[in-house]
């Protein structure tokens, strides 16, 4: 189940930030480690001309450069990209203040300093366990810095044209029953039906049949349409027509 961090604003509005789980965070970390290694190699190539100053000097510079990159990359990226690194961008994750406020540089530094303990004894075991047991999925660094890692939502508004397809809607044509449908179906149920249509491509065929069958049966019982209006309508088409009646108000009139 998706865990969220709910913040209530002084205006009395609540918003929920979906929290990232340990697996997606670990994948982002793997990407970032690969980025650190790549930058390290690139810096080595760039510093190669310093070889004329002696092997000892160039090796020292390489050690220091790699250490500095591994220590600074995460913090610098999170600061410059507002809580994101390359790995977090790819996995659509973002570090945010646990109170919903702006991320401060000191918070970024502290959460990255704590990697020294979160990474113990190996493979971020301490951080991973902390992440699993904490209700806000915070590793020790997040707890110390007062941050959480969120999943950025896919930003799109429901595309009614895409799901409804502008087909003839027999339910909408029977206007007095359509009005009763809008009156009797709760907003929550309407939202679930809309969500199911939007995600129908992600559902297994058998589960999809069962889900839309159950929904259609419920909608059929809420408002009973004459048989000639609903005959030959599949369950999914029935739900689709109901959603158009509910959400496509002006168009279905």
């Amino acid at each position: 189940m998706t865990q969220t961090l709910t913040i209530r604003t002084p205006e009395g509005i609540e918003f929920a930030l979906p929290l990232a789980g340990p697996v997606s965070r670990m994948l982002a970390l793997v990407v970032d480690l690969a980025v650190v290694m790549t930058i390290g190699k690139a810096v080595q190539q760039i510093l190669a001309p310093l070889g004329f100053l002696g092997k000892d000097f160039s090796e020292a510079i390489k050690i220091l450069a790699y250490f500095a990159i591994s220590l600074v990359y995460m913090a610098l990226a999170e600061w410059l990209w507002r809580g994101q690194t390359v790995g977090k961008r790819l996995l659509r994750l973002r570090v945010v203040d646990a109170g919903g406020l702006r991320l401060e540089p000191s918070q970024v530094i502290v959460r990255n300093l704590m990697r020294f303990i979160d990474a113990l004894p190996a493979l971020y075991l301490v951080g991973g366990i902390a992440c699993l047991v904490n209700r806000h999925r915070q590793r020790l660094g997040d707890l110390a810095a007062g941050t959480v890692v969120t999943r950025a939502p896919r930003l799109s508004r429901p595309d009614l044209d895409r799901i409804l397809g502008g087909k003839f809607n027999s339910l909408a044509e029977t206007r007095h029953l359509a009005a009763r449908l809008r009156q009797k179906v709760s907003p929550e149920l309407g939202a679930i039906a809309l969500e199911a249509l939007l995600r129908r491509g992600e559902i297994e065929p058998q589960a999809r049949l069962a889900l839309f069958g159950e929904m259609a049966e419920h909608f059929r019982s809420v408002v009973v349409y004459p048989v000639e209006v609903v005959e030959q309508l599949s369950d999914e088409q029935y739900v689709r027509d109901v959603v158009e009646v509910l959400y496509g108000g002006a168009r279905s009139q």
């Binding site: 205006e11 000892d56 050690i63 401060e104 300093l113 810095a145």
Partner: protein
Amino acid sequence: MILDISRFVETERAHWTALEKSLEWLERNPDARLTIAEVEGLHTLYQRASADLARVPDGELRKYLEWLVSRAYAEIHEARERKRFRPWRWVTEEYPRVFRAHLRAFQLAAVLTIGGVAFGALALRIDPEAKSVIMPFEGLQESPAERVAKERADQGRHMTGKKNRFSAELMTHNTQVALTTLALGMTFGFGTIVMLFYNGVILGAVAFDYIHGGQTVFLMGWLLPHGVIEIPAILVGGQAGLVIAYALIGWGSRISRAERLRTVSGDVATLAGGAAAMLVWAGIVESFLSQYHEPVISYGTKIAFGVVEAALLTFYLAFAGRRT
């Protein structure tokens, strides 16, 4: 009431887009100062998006509005002053001031290390055979007299061609030790205390071994030039760890743990930066000065160098950035 989403989106979309553009601009220009009219405009858009959020049911649109309102909330309700990082001011004022603000934590770190020193010295006095256990480092297994004789004969040649690399390795290793000591503050200070005590034990055992072996001057010439910076730097790491532990425990505090940690995070970051900077200097000195002994450099010179460094560091941490 079922919302007519299409009509709702068409009506409100322009306001959401305006808010998004304002937020993107603010995020690109974090130091920008808005006029009163701009602040009012942003606030109006934020309130409108908040009101819209309260009306929409669960779904994609709600997620979008939550994302938009959360970003606007962060910009509008943030009351912490955003300070521009000024390196010179950080060195001359901020770091020593933060150090002094948490002097008790530093003193506790020092006491723990001194306790470890006493334990290490006592352990070696009681059981000299324990040397290999207490100091499991190859270079410290031989007797102090043998080491001194070898160093005098070698005249620093063993460092030829590897001074820079050695210096870099010391910097990275010591920084890792200091920052681990800091991070272990999250174990309610237990790990920090163990690290500080353990470092003290090794130091005490080494010191006792050399003093007992009649090599006090060599020991001072070897350790003082870099040790007077390196050891306080580790203590500063421990100091920061203890600051975190104190905030975690929160004796007598009425504010939440999260708030206590948030309050000290800036100071912890400053102390970490200070410790790292000190260790860079200590690494240079250890590689380029400490590893050379008589007859290359006289012990007196090295000891004097260490004493001057200690005096300057004490003066800096005690007085820099004080306002009259």
